[in-house]
C-alpha cells in the first residue's frame, strides 16, 4: 500500500480539506438517524471512510493510524458497553431497550426520541472504531510495518482487531 510518508501533496491537501466535511457528515447522519435515512451504522461507516482516506493519504506514521490506532479497540469496547448500558437503562422506564429519556410529542424533531439519538451515537462509536480497528488489522501496515517483505501478504499483525459484529444494525 502506501509508504509511511503518505501520498503526493495534492492528495494530502485535498484530504485535509475534505476530512472535516466527511467527519461532520458522518456525525450528522448518525445524529439524525431516527428522522432521516441513515443512523449510527451508516454514520460510523462514513467516519471510518474518512479515517481510512486520511490513513492512505498521510501514511501509517503520521496519519490517524498513528494516534488513533491504539485507541480504536478501546473506543470499540466503550461504544458497545455504552449501547448495552443505554439498553439496560430502559429498565428504568419499564423494560429492556425502552425509551427512558422522555419524548417530545412534536414529530420530526431531534428531541422526539432522545434515547434513540444516544443509542445511535453509541453505535456510531462502536462501528466507527471497530471498522477502523479492523481495517488496521488487515492492512499490511497495521502492526508490522517494519518487516514488510517483497510479497504483498508477507507479514501482518495478529488477527486481533476485528471482533465479530452483528448487533448494531
Amino acid at each position: 500500500m502506501s509508504e509511511p510518508g503518505g501520498m503526493s501533496p495534492i492528495v494530502r491537501i485535498v484530504t485535509r480539506w475534505l476530512l472535516g466535511f466527511v467527519l461532520v457528515f458522518g456525525f450528522a447522519v448518525a445524529l439524525f438517524g431516527h428522522l432521516t435515512p441513515g443512523g449510527g451504522f451508516a454514520g460510523g461507516v462514513v467516519i471510518t471512510c474518512g479515517f481510512v482516506l486520511a490513513t492512505l493519504a498521510f501514511g501509517a506514521k503520521t496519519g490517524p493510524a498513528a494516534w488513533f490506532g491504539r485507541l480504536a479497540s478501546t473506543l470499540d469496547a466503550v461504544g458497545a458497553l455504552a449501547f448495552l448500558a443505554l439498553a439496560l437503562l430502559g429498565y428504568a422506564a419499564g423494560h429492556f431497550l425502552a425509551q427512558w429519556a422522555g419524548r417530545d410529542p412534536e414529530p420530526f424533531r431531534l428531541t422526539s426520541a432522545p434515547s434513540l439519538v444516544l443509542l445511535n451515537l453509541a453505535i456510531l462509536l462502536k462501528v466507527g472504531a471497530g471498522l477502523f480497528a479492523g481495517f488496521l488489522a488487515v492492512a499490511a501496515f497495521g502492526r508490522a510495518a517494519e518487516d514488510v517483505g517483497t510479497d504483498e501478504f508477507s507479514d501482518a499483525g495478529a488477527p486481533q482487531g476485528p471482533e465479530p459484529e452483528g448487533r448494531e444494525a
Binding site: L84, A87, G94, F96, L97, P159, E163, P164, R167
Partner: protein, 509 residues
C-alpha cells in the same frame, strides 16, 4: 422474570466488551469478569427453572394501536420456554466448568484477554440463539457464536489451527448463507419472520408448497452442517481438536447443540411442523452419522480427534431420536443432547489435562497415567463410562430411551444400528482407557504430576453430574427435559406443543 430475560444475552455481551476494554489490566481481571458473567447466567437459568413460567419479552417493543383497536407491538421477540430453559441450563453449567478450567490451562499462552472476549461472545451467541423468537435473530445469534468460534479455533495460530479455522470458516459461512436464503424464501412466501406467525401460516396452509420445501432443504443443510450431520461433518474433526481444550469443550459440548440441534428442533418441530420427509431424512442421516462416525473414531490415535469423531457419532443418536418424531423419541434426543454436553466437555477437558501432562495427544505414547494422576483419571473414567453407555451413568439412560423409541416406532433397522454403535463406542473407550490410563507407564512419563485442582475439579464435577443424573432426574431435571420436549415435540396428530408456543407468543386463547 419476564423483564429479566434479555439479561441472558446482555450479561455475556457486557462481559465480552468489559474484557476488551480492560485487557491492559491483565487476564486475571478478564478471567474474573468472565467467571462472574457465567455465574450470573447460571443463577439466572436456575431461577428460570425454579420459577418455571414461560415468558415473552419484546425487546425494544414499541406499541401501536391499529385502527381497528388491536394492539400491535413491533420488536424483537425473546421467548423463554421449556426448550430454551433446558439449553440455557446446559450452557451455563458446562460454561462455568470450562471457564474455571481455562484459568490454569491457558496460563502459558498469549492473548488470554482476547480468549475471554471471544469466549464471552460465544456464550452470548448461544444464549441469544436459544432465546430468539424470530428466525432472523436466530440466524444473527448463531452467526455471533460461529464467528467467535472461528477465531477461537485459530487461537493457537499454528499450521493446523489456522488451516482448520480456514476450512471451518468457509464451510460454516456456506451453511450460514444457506440459512439466510432459507429465511429470505420464507419471508418472501409468507411475509413473517416471527416463529409463531410462520407456524400459524404453515398450519393454516397459507405457507406451503415449493417455498416451504425449499426453505426446509436449506435449513436442513445449514443447521445440519452446524450440527455436524454426516455428509456435512468434514469440518468438525479438524476444527474441534485444533482449538485449545476448553474451547474444544465449548465447541463440541455446546456449540454444535445450540446452533445445530436446538435450531433443527426449533425450526422443524416448532415452526414448520412435523414433516414425514424431513423426519425420514433425519433418521437416515442420523444413522449414517452414528455408524460412520464411530467407525472413523475407532481408527484414531490422536485423542482429541477420536473425541471429535465420537461427537459426530453421538449427534447421530440425537438426530435419530428426533427422526422418530414421537414424544418419547424427542424427549430421549434432547436428554441425550444435554448428557452429551456434560460428558463430551468433560472428556475434552481431561484430554487437555492429559496433553498438558504428557506433552502429546497420541494415545500410543501414553500409558499408566491412572497411577500418576488419580484425579484426572477418575474424571476421565467417569465421562468415558457415560459416553459408553454403562449404567447408572446418564449416557446409558438416554441411549436406552432412544433405542426404546426406535423399536416402538417400528424402526428396528435404525435401532440395530444404534445398538451396534453403542457397542463400538464402548470398545473405542475401552481402548482409550487401556492405552492412556492403565497399562505400563512409559519411562518418559515416570515423573509426570497431576494437573492443579482448578483443572481436575471441573472434570470431576461434570463426571459426578453424569453419574448422579438418575438422582437429579426425579428432583427436577426430569421436569426440565420433559418440559423441553413438550415445547418441541409434535407427535400424535394434533401438536399440543405448537399450541402452547403460539399461546405464549401470540397471546391467543
Amino acid at each position: 422474570m419476564v423483564d429479566l430475560v434479555p439479561l441472558f444475552v446482555a450479561i455475556p455481551l457486557a462481559a465480552a466488551f468489559l474484557c476488551l476494554l480492560l485487557k491492559r489490566f491483565g487476564d486475571r481481571v478478564c478471567g474474573a469478569i468472565t467467571l462472574l458473567g457465567i455465574l450470573a447466567v447460571l443463577g439466572l437459568s436456575l431461577t428460570a427453572i425454579a420459577v418455571g413460567t414461560d415468558a415473552v419479552n419484546m425487546a425494544g417493543g414499541y406499541g401501536v394501536t391499529m385502527r381497528d383497536g388491536r394492539p400491535f407491538v413491533a420488536g424483537i421477540a425473546i421467548v423463554l420456554d421449556g426448550l430454551a430453559r433446558l439449553f440455557l441450563l446446559v450452557v451455563a453449567v458446562v460454561g462455568t466448568a470450562v471457564v474455571v478450567y481455562g484459568f490454569r490451562y491457558l496460563e502459558r499462552s498469549t492473548g488470554r484477554a482476547l480468549y475471554h472476549v471471544l469466549l464471552n461472545l460465544v456464550f452470548a451467541g448461544m444464549t441469544g440463539a436459544v432465546l430468539a423468537g424470530d428466525v432472523f435473530n436466530l440466524f444473527v445469534f448463531v452467526e455471533i457464536a460461529s464467528i467467535a468460534s472461528y477465531a477461537l479455533v485459530a487461537f493457537g495460530t499454528g499450521d493446523r489451527e489456522v488451516e482448520a479455522s480456514f476450512k471451518y470458516l468457509l464451510l460454516g459461512s456456506i451453511a450460514s448463507l444457506a440459512i439466510l436464503i432459507g429465511i429470505a424464501v420464507l419471508y418472501a412466501a409468507g411475509g413473517f419472520l416471527n416463529m409463531a406467525d410462520i407456524a400459524v401460516a404453515v398450519r393454516e396452509g397459507r405457507l406451503g408448497g415449493a417455498a416451504l420445501l425449499g426453505a426446509s432443504a436449506l435449513f436442513l443443510f445449514g443447521f445440519g452442517l452446524k450440527a455436524a450431520m454426516m455428509p456435512f461433518h468434514a469440518w468438525l474433526p479438524d476444527a474441534h481438536p485444533s482449538a485449545p481444550a476448553p474451547i474444544s469443550a465449548v465447541l463440541s459440548g455446546l456449540l454444535i447443540k445450540t446452533t445445530g440441534i436446538y435450531a433443527l428442533v426449533r425450526v422443524f418441530f416448532t415452526i414448520l411442523g412435523p414433516d414425514p420427509r424431513v423426519q425420514t431424512l433425519l433418521l437416515v442421516l442420523g444413522c449414517v452419522s452414528m455408524g460412520a462416525g464411530v467407525l472413523l473414531a475407532l481408527g484414531q490415535d490422536d485423542l482429541k480427534r477420536l473425541l471429535a469423531y465420537h461427537s459426530v457419532s453421538q449427534m447421530g443418536f440425537v438426530l435419530v431420536g428426533l427422526g422418530t418424531g414421537s414424544a418419547l423419541g424427542v424427549t430421549a434426543a434432547l436428554f441425550h443432547a444435554a448428557n452429551h454436553a456434560l460428558f463430551k466437555s468433560a472428556l475434552f477437558l481431561s484430554s487437555g489435562s492429559l496433553e498438558r501432562m504428557t506433552g502429546t495427544r497420541n494415545l500410543s505414547e501414553m500409558g499408566g497415567l491412572a497411577r500418576r494422576a488419580p484425579w484426572t483419571a477418575a474424571g476421565t473414567i467417569g465421562a468415558a463410562l457415560s459416553i459408553s453407555g454403562i449404567p447408572p451413568f446418564n449416557g446409558f439412560w438416554s441411549k436406552l430411551l432412544i433405542l426404546i423409541a426406535l423399536f416402538s416406532a417400528g424402526l428396528p433397522w435404525a435401532g440395530t444400528i444404534a445398538a451396534l454403535t453403542a457397542l463400538l463406542t464402548l470398545a473405542s473407550f475401552v481402548k482409550v482407557q487401556r492405552k492412556a490410563l492403565f497399562g505400563a507407564l512409559p519411562e518418559r512419563l515416570a515423573h509426570v504430576r497431576d494437573v492443579p485442582a482448578s483443572m481436575h475439579v471441573p472434570v470431576l464435577v461434570l463426571s459426578a453430574l453424569c453419574l448422579l443424573t438418575f438422582v437429579l432426574w426425579p428432583l427436577g431435571l426430569g421436569d426440565v427435559v420433559q418440559g423441553a420436549a413438550a415445547t418441541a415435540q409434535s407427535a400424535d396428530g394434533q401438536p399440543p406443543a405448537i399450541d402452547s408456543y403460539l399461546r405464549l407468543v401470540l397471546g391467543r386463547p
